[in-house]
């Protein structure tokens, strides 16, 4: 009973926080919350590779950008009503691309895999910037139309919330399934997994495809928030900040990356308001967290939860 409560508590918190915002959030809060859940989906999908399977991809932005550009360009060409369909085409395209890139890159190990993913993403960024007659180049694409029903920040937030929640549920089930256990096994000891008779490469490829698919959905959703997209979405700093946010939140916990994204975006918003040296402040916070609490914010709260538990109080950790 208690155990079940512990597993469901993060979900409860998720619904309480992001659900209640629908009723109480102001325009700006809703805009920030939309960014948090969408980038949160990106980070959690990334963590399927990183925290679960132990694969550090430095190029997940390629799928994020792909999702955004497919959705944005299709809605732009075929009209706002096509927006939702484009959101379905984007992950399909990402799966195809991930098989191609996965077959090429997953055979390599560790740092070589990381470098190759980075190279592919930079290549995509280069194409996006140079092929300006098709992609709009470095100016990006603006005035992306959406269906009437999704107009306005709040409606779009509700729409994103429903989709992100569904995606998170699927990823959560996956994380707890036997397949998820195999992925964790690959992280801990790939040799042993192949001795059991499992195909390590095939599992890695599947994880890569799943991660890419959900990343593209996040990218597609992002195209609807600001109704504008940019080649920045492909660039390596995008992949890099997702890695940072994941580490900040805690990569060994399912919701850790989402917490990292939320903290990062809130800090950027609040500190950016007060000082122009906000990146310095965020850098300092990152260093503190990584050096003192390598398990991220989730690690910190678990630490304190344990302290509370010792004192006799009951506390569920998020």
């Amino acid at each position: 009973m208690n155990n079940k409560l512990t597993t469901m508590a993060p979900w409860l918190a998720y619904f309480l926080i992001f659900g209640s915002l629908i009723f109480v959030g102001g325009d700006h809060t809703i805009h920030i919350a939309s960014q948090v859940i969408i980038l949160g989906l990106f980070a959690i999908a990334f963590n399927v590779l990183f925290g679960t399977t132990g694969l550090l991809s430095f190029g997940q932005a390629i799928f994020y950008g792909l999702g955004a550009y497919i959705t944005g360009m299709m809605a732009k060409s075929f009209g706002g009503d096509f927006f939702v369909w484009a959101l379905l085409i984007a992950p399909a395209a990402a799966i195809v691309l991930s098989v191609l890139l996965g077959v090429l890159s997953l055979r390599l190990s560790d740092v070589y895999f990381t470098m190759l993913t980075l190279a592919f993403a930079q290549l995509a960024w280069g194409i996006c910037v140079k092929w300006s007659s098709f992609t709009g180049g470095d100016d990006g694409i603006q005035a992306i139309p959406k269906p009437e029903l999704l107009a306005g920040g709040l409606n779009y937030y509700i729409f994103s919330f429903v989709i992100v929640t569904a995606c998170l549920y699927l990823l959560w089930r996956l994380d707890r399934s036997p397949f998820g256990s195999v992925l964790k096994g690959i992280r801990q000891n790939p040799t042993r997994i192949s001795f059991i008779g499992m195909n390590v490469f095939r599992h890695k490829l599947l994880a890569y495809m799943i991660s890419s698919c959900f990343t593209a959905i996040a990218g597609g959703l992002y195209a609807g928030i600001d109704k504008s997209i940019h080649p920045d979405m492909f660039v390596w700093t995008m992949s890099g900040s997702i890695i940072l946010m994941t580490i900040l939140g805690g990569m060994r916990s399912f919701f850790g990356p989402l917490i990292g994204v939320a903290v990062f975006i809130l800090l950027e918003d609040e500190i950016g308001r007060a000082t122009q040296y906000w990146s310095f402040v965020i850098g300092a916070i990152m260093i503190t967290v990584v050096l003192l609490f390598p398990k991220g914010i989730v690690g910190i709260s678990r630490h304190f939860a344990r302290l509370f538990a010792k004192k006799g109080g009951q506390r569920d950790n998020p």
Partner: protein
């Protein structure tokens, strides 16, 4: 104990909100500029110029005794961040105007926010012609020249000085660089200037080493090298090309941003003589009281001379204040738009006898453009050179034609 804290907090909160409601008497402008990295100087200069302009307009007074106030935030020239900040300005800070923006990509994204929230956006720096052409929306105004205007003036200069013949172009490989040469070719075609393109060179933005381009340009033997560099890239290219003697072999023609003050101040004595350039504002031209006052005030406030960005940032505040005076308040957005359309306003960069005005149709400010050549001038240290022998091109002759706006709209599918 706890209750005491709560009540103290409550009192604090109440007093804070009452202060906030009192402060709401001011009319807020939400400005976005890069404050660090390349482009950071433009943001810092713009912020200083905004302060100067605010002091002037507030001293002169606004209807109802209200004051103008500007909030400046670092947008890092990132479109997504600029959009987030713009939305926050409108929904949280309740600004009446969005302002500034250096990156054209960010400006194109912010103009969408302006349209969606029906909030006026006064662009002070970005040069992409698109904003007042194919991506135009009625809440957008621009108070500095766009690249079309610079290049149209450039084409007239080439015609006048018979600079045709073999032409090569070098510019950064992104929209700003691509647009400039397309616009120059269009204007040269309109004027019937004969020329032959012997090469187009596209280094990346912020390229550190231009050697391979310089040798290729010298090999192509053009009579004129047209340049579309931006900011620090101009300085890097000039330094490197000088070492190869490029400027002795051909004319260097840089009509949009070559003559920016920060180029001269960084090059110092290393600046070659006889380069043909322009900028959106010059510290030494025109020789009017308005310009001298502006440059001196800026120098007094910051200890340095302004880059072109400062004048644009200064101009926009005057335009906003003038519109509020005409309408009598800052709440009737539609009336403010009407007031700004066709508004005449005397600015530091206006030569004697000319007053800038805002084109009612495209919301683009119409200004004269002066092109000159580099000559020794140490009145604005640390620069040792400045533009001289200015040729001035009438404002109405260099506006983007409807035909060109059509071409742009079709080619960019917007």
């Amino acid at each position: 104990m706890k209750r005491k804290t709560v009540s103290i907090l409550a009192v604090l909160l109440v007093s804070l909100t009452s202060v906030a409601s009192f402060a709401a008497e001011t009319i807020k402008i939400g400005a976005l500029y890069p404050m660090s990295g390349r482009g950071g100087l433009y943001g810092q200069d713009s912020e200083a110029a905004i302060k100067i302009a605010l002091a002037e307009v507030n001293a002169k007074g606004l209807p109802g005794g209200r004051k103008l106030e500007a909030i400046v935030t670092d947008d890092q020239s990132k479109p997504a961040l600029a959009v987030t900040l713009a939305k926050r300005y409108i929904t949280e800070d309740k600004v009446k105007f969005l302002y500034g923006v250096v990156s054209s990509g960010a400006a194109l994204a912010v103009t969408e926010v302006s349209k969606e929230y029906k909030t006026i956006f006064v662009g002070s720096d970005h040069a992409a012609t698109d904003l007042t052409a194919n991506a135009f929306q009625k809440y957008y105004f621009r108070v500095s020249n766009n690249t079309y205007q610079s290049m149209a003036a450039g084409a007239m200069y080439m015609q006048e000085t018979k600079m045709g013949g073999k032409i090569a172009y070098i510019g950064p490989d992104y929209a700003y660089g691509r647009d400039q040469i397309a616009e120059l070719k269009y204007s040269l075609g309109k004027l019937g200037v004969k020329y032959e393109m012997v090469g187009e060179f596209w280094p990346k933005l912020y390229e550190p080493d231009y050697t391979s381009y310089i040798t290729a340009i010298i090999k192509a033997k053009p009579d004129v090298l047209v340049s579309g560099f931006w900011g620090g890239d101009t300085v890097a290219f000039i330094k490197q090309a000088k070492a190869y003697g490029l400027f002795d072999k051909m004319k260097y023609f840089h009509p949009d941003g070559g003559g920016n003050y920060e180029v001269f101040s960084t090059l110092g004595a290393e600046c070659p003589e006889g380069l043909i350039m322009s900028a959106r504002h010059h510290n030494n031209w025109p020789d009017t009281k308005e310009n001298k006052d502006f440059v001196q005030k800026f120098h007094k406030a910051t200890g340095r001379y302004p880059s072109y960005a400062a004048e644009g940032a200064y101009a926009g505040i005057l335009v906003i204040a003038e519109a509020i005076r005409k309408v009598g308040n800052a709440d009737d957005t539609e009336a403010l738009i009407k007031a700004m359309e066709g508004m005449k306003i005397k600015l530091p960069e206006d030569p004697a006898g000319f007053t800038s005005y805002i084109d009612p149709k495209t919301h683009q400010i119409v200004q004269a453009q002066a092109i000159g050549v580099t000559v020794k001038n140490d009145k604005f240290p640390p620069a040792k050179y400045a533009l001289g022998k200015m040729k001035v091109y009438a404002a109405d002759k260099i506006m983007a034609t409807e035909e060109y706006i059509d071409i742009l709209t079709k080619s960019k599918k917007k």
